[in-house]
Amino acid sequence: GLSFGAGAALVGRPFRASADEPPPWMKTPGEPFTNYGVPSPHEKEAIRWISANSAAPGNGISWTPLHKLEGIVTPNGLHFERHHNGVPQIDPHRHRLLIHGLVENPLSFGVNDLLRYPMVSRLCFVECGGNSNAGWHEEPIQTPVGYFHGLASCSEWTGVPLAIILDEAGLRPDARWLVAEGADAAAMNISIPVEKALDDAVLALYQNGERLRPENGYPLRLIVPGWEAVLSVKWLRRLQAATGPVMARNETAKYTELLPSGKARQFTFVMEAKSIITFPSPGRHLHGPGLYQISGLAWSGRGRIKRVEISADGGRSWAEAALQDPVLPQCFTRFRLPWRWNGAPLVLKSRAVDETGYVQPEREALIAERGRHGYFHYNAIVCWAVAADGSVSHTYG
């Protein structure tokens, strides 16, 4: 006979196990369901890296870890942050959007009002005008790629086309700019040309399906696709139509690019085409000669990415990478290329071309045009030096 139970001896027949001992998580019931999930405890390194003002913890930036991600979507918990004075915890029932200035009908909207409007969704990137600005440094910064280029993220934004609301308010013919203002402790304000506002700006209420996160503008954020992110005002509370820009601190003192002449470029809005190789990249090294897949991201504020070329010989020859479908305008585009590494040191670079024909510049060309003190809008070609041991470092080529 055969018996069972705590302490019961197996009598008669020998114990037979036809299979190896399975891992512990196959032998005990797993964790219960959760109302809202979180990443695996084994992925603790996939975090936003915070660089804040020690005297003011809500003033600074945090970076999307692009080196930890694949595909084009940025999960909401990892969307980059730029706050001037912290994240307001807004009660949506106490938040309204006021439209006034050069309009026929000044109007005020509650969040629930806007939730009833016609909506559109679009996958697009949001990139800080100051992203990648370590590229201006004399020495190439040595950091994982997300902590160099990760003031850019890509989400599906859903909300109300701003044009509908402007239509209801009745823009006067002399209204050429809209001054947007956030409901944070910086009351961040900035001016946006009416043309762009009417073209494709969105009053976003949802990000990647769910309502906005607090750090990304809950309950209401302006999204200005393809333009520098400072225009995509978070916690949007007010839009004033005016004949000219307000000349806010963030469109004069900041987010303008000083040229070698001493003059500065102002109203530099479009984020020009950029590409970065996320694998291999600093910290994501190669394990000996063999076949690898180069993977990276490209995007352009002017529209779709048309082509990404990759060089494994420091720019002497270029191969065209495959672009992952769908290729969408003003959206991260994942590119990939199979690549066999023979173990020799070399320099990898990627170059994006957008549908307008704009070609991502070499660093020397960008510096020749803009000098080295522009601070914003750095979009030059990035070079990774692969060493014989497979380690990868940033180089100026």
Binding site: A55, N59, H84, L98, D167, R249
Partner: protein, 156 residues
């Protein structure tokens, strides 16, 4: 644009005035009130200097004075060298500063501390009163320092 359900509630002039804190280069949006640099110094010392340093130099936050050049190997961008409009100071300080207690100054105090920042940048004198009439007429050293890139006709 597609038709919307027209759920906006009309906003009254009083409601708008109560929220509108934008100040334009022509001075529109500036509130009543006034202040001088002499009045602004104690405000600055009490609530600004802890971050921006005495007289705008050497704090943990960005420098607010100090002169310098916009050209050469180490250009110095600050209020005196870079900012094109004095009205921007009022607009920004009223909405955002002091960082630890925004909106805690009254309009006179904002005029006064604005005047003080203009003084330490050698732009106005200690007793010049800044108000809705005078502030927009202050000519900033770098008033003509900007090339407007948008729309894509470059105007030099």
């Amino acid at each position: 644009a597609p038709e919307g359900p027209k759920l906006g509630r009309p906003a009254s002039p009083g409601e708008i005035a109560g929220q509108d804190i934008n100040v334009f280069p022509d001075g529109s949006g500036l509130p009543p009130g006034q202040g001088t640099a002499r009045e602004g110094k104690p405000v600055y010392d009490a609530v600004c200097a802890s971050c921006h340093g005495p007289a705008g130099i050497g704090g943990s936050a960005g420098e607010l004075a100090g002169g310098g050049l916009l050209t050469g190997p180490h250009p110095d961008k600050n209020i005196g060298t870079y900012w094109p409009y004095a009205t921007t100071l009022f607009d920004f300080i009223r909405r955002s500063m002091p960082l630890h207690a925004p909106r805690s100054l009254n309009d006179d105090q904002v005029y006064a501390v604005t005047a003080y920042l203009l003084l330490i940048n050698d732009i106005i004198g200690e007793r010049e009163e800044m108000n809705a009439g005078t502030l927009p007429r202050v000519t900033m050293p770098n008033r003509n320092g900007f090339i407007q890139v948008w729309p894509e006709v470059i105007v030099q």
